[in-house]
Symmetry: C2
Subunit: 395 residues, 2 copies
């Protein structure tokens, strides 16, 4: 196929940070050319798990990519995994997924889309629930789907392979999950499917199963790295709320959390969370502020981002107090650990202890070291670099 | 559980030649006692593959066992595998099973039952087609069934294990076959399932899956050895017609074929195909005649068995000609190989060549050695010990 220069360039831009299988950037360029030749938009699929409707910056990596496709006039197809969610996950995993009712699935999906709207135009996307076709599959349909692949192939999937080799149980029903999401690609006629790199196997399975059902040029898989949370160590996830940057975080929290990432995480955040390029010649602090400003601007607008930046400069860099502090009335003496967790400064008491042990908690400018301490007077409480409360004691 | 002497004795008799899992003869005795305590018959299941309706002596091993249960007043439940047959077997096996229509399944099942009637009282058996419950399973039902076992467990099945280890493909749908037949046991509430020893895994899976669906005391598995064909080497099967003794074979063929088995196969035939005991003190030829007579009597009646025995003595032992020979008119000279195969004396020309090479073909009492020979005169043709034709040349 002759690829026009234009589509090669588009493909290169779209491929930023992504891995594409098969055929890399050329595979994507061919899809773009095909769509132009056939005078139709590409169908770009993303599967959503409606059991966890809270979105964080990690999710935006893929969503931002969808938006680029949308800007080029292609069609985004969002698949809510209703069928799977309604069955639940009976596997031997420590973290089992609960079965959800249809109502819960729809409600979660709604929350999901509201948050997604911050990153792309959901109203222009095709939204489908795979319960609509999977639940109506007959016995014969299911067996046909099951005959589309081999046991050995599914066992090559990394997590299955590890579990099989270490004799941890894999339920036969789990073999159906990759097949079901692959069948979604058949139904929606996806040209491209996006996902995290942990989804590579499933996405390629989608291509194979499309092929089995007679779709000759199946979807290409476009996978994007998972990003680490603010500690730079563990994958960003709601499971570690203190290192997770949610789309529902306030502009000041978002800005401040981004400022707390380790310097070596900056290139990855630049690459995957923005359209800007990381400049290693710059002063790291300035470069991090540029990153924090850019991302906060995306989800809260320029004014809020500027406000957050000013406050950060004021309180963290100039050690001033923030302009607007939460005022908290104490009616009786309160233990410092209880107070910190009640104010949501840390997600747990053990986190509060750790913060105190690290010298991160101050009352009226004095470090607190005694976790037994009861606060029984008015004053400014500070936890970490950016969290303040004005305590008013009325005991 | 306290087992009455009577049921222990019954169990010992029923167990002749069989392996019982779990708990061997005691497991069976407990089932018999339970049925008596609950004042109900046991439900004894056998699954039938309606793709191959021709029955041979190998099938009667299990059928005879069913008859014993029937004689003790228990209920035989015959499951026609309509659901599986209608799907066909898409596995990587060299010998793939074709998908059958519902009509074909019913027709094959009918033939099957007609032949089965020679070994047990089909009219008193419950006959079911698993298409009746499997085909109406929904998506959620199927996933529930799939969640009843693990991949590792299914991969312990001998044939799967071998194929997995030697990298021969196993389709995911094949994982459903053991689950489906196991689900049959749930539906029909089987107390005991019978099968060949190659079915041990499936039968125990039936017990496990019953358990998953809340049946506490699941079925026990009663497996019986597969018997070899008349060559004593390969499992009896239609695939090797010259070594296979069909229930539709004439009384003379049946008797003659049994007389052709190697002596060392006699004890197994006695054990599994009759109620008689092999007597190693007897002259082997007499013992084999007793066996051939007994089996022929079962499927053709005493008169026919006696007739077959007399002919055998007459033509094989006393080298006389049989009383009733087929008369064949030849209108032109016919090649000896063509003639032998046309008369169905051997199933193929290569078999005919082998028979000639072994000195097994005679014309008018003279051995034939030339496979190019054309027969152009009247006379008696003999192939092997028992096959004769009277050729009448009218060329």
């Amino acid at each position: 196929m002759k690829i026009e220069e234009k589509f090669l360039k588009q493909a290169q831009e779209l491929a930023r940070g992504a891995e594409i299988v098969p055929n890399g950037v050329m595979g994507l360029a061919e899809k773009l050319q095909t769509a132009a030749n056939e005078n139709r938009p590409l169908r770009v699929k993303l599967g959503l798990d409606p059991t966890r409707p809270d979105l964080h910056l990690g999710h935006t990596v893929v969503m931002r990519k969808l938006k680029k496709f949308q800007e080029l006039g292609h069609t985004i197809v969002l698949i809510v995994g209703g069928a799977t969610a309604m069955v639940g996950d009976p596997s031997g995993k420590s973290e089992t997924r609960p079965a959800l009712s249809k109502e819960q699935v729809n409600e979660n999906a709604k929350t999901y889309f509201e948050q997604m709207a911050k990153a792309l135009d959901v109203s222009r996307a095709e939204v489908k629930n795979n319960a609509d076709w999977l639940h109506s599959m007959s016995f014969v349909d299911m067996l046909k789907l099951a005959s589309s692949t081999t046991v050995a192939k599914i066992l090559t999937r990394d997590d299955f392979n590890k579990r099989y080799k270490t004799a941890r149980p894999i339920s036969v029903v789990e073999f159906f999950y990759p097949l079901m999401q692959a069948y979604d690609s058949v139904i929606v006629k996806a040209d491209i499917e996006l996902g995290g790199t942990d989804q590579t196997f499933n996405l390629i399975m989608g291509r194979d199963v499309q092929n089995f059902y007679g779709i000759k040029e199946g979807q290409i898989a476009m996978t994007l790295p998972l990003i680490e949370g603010t500690d730079g160590a563990v994958k960003m996830s709601k499971t570690y709320p203190e290192h997770c940057i949610s789309l529902t975080d306030s502009s000041k929290d978002m800005y401040g959390k981004i400022m707390s990432i380790p310097d070596n995480l900056m290139p990855k955040y630049y690459l995957l969370l923005t359209d800007l390029n990381f400049n290693k010649e710059n002063n790291p602090r300035d470069e991090k502020m540029r990153l924090a400003f850019e991302i906060t601007k995306m989800y809260h607008g320029e004014n809020k981002a500027a406000e957050a930046q000013n406050e950060f400069i004021n309180i963290v860099q100039n050690k001033n107090l923030p302009d607007n502090m939460e005022e908290v009335e104490l009616k009786e003496p309160v233990n410092i650990l209880d107070l910190i967790t009640r104010l949501n400064f840390t997600p747990s008491k053990s986190e509060a202890k750790r913060l105190i042990a690290g010298g991160g908690v101050k009352f009226e400018g004095e470090k607190i070291s005694d976790i037994q301490l009861n606060i029984a007077k008015s004053g400014i409480l500070q936890a970490g670099k950016r969290k303040y409360a004005k305590l008013i004691f009325k005991g």
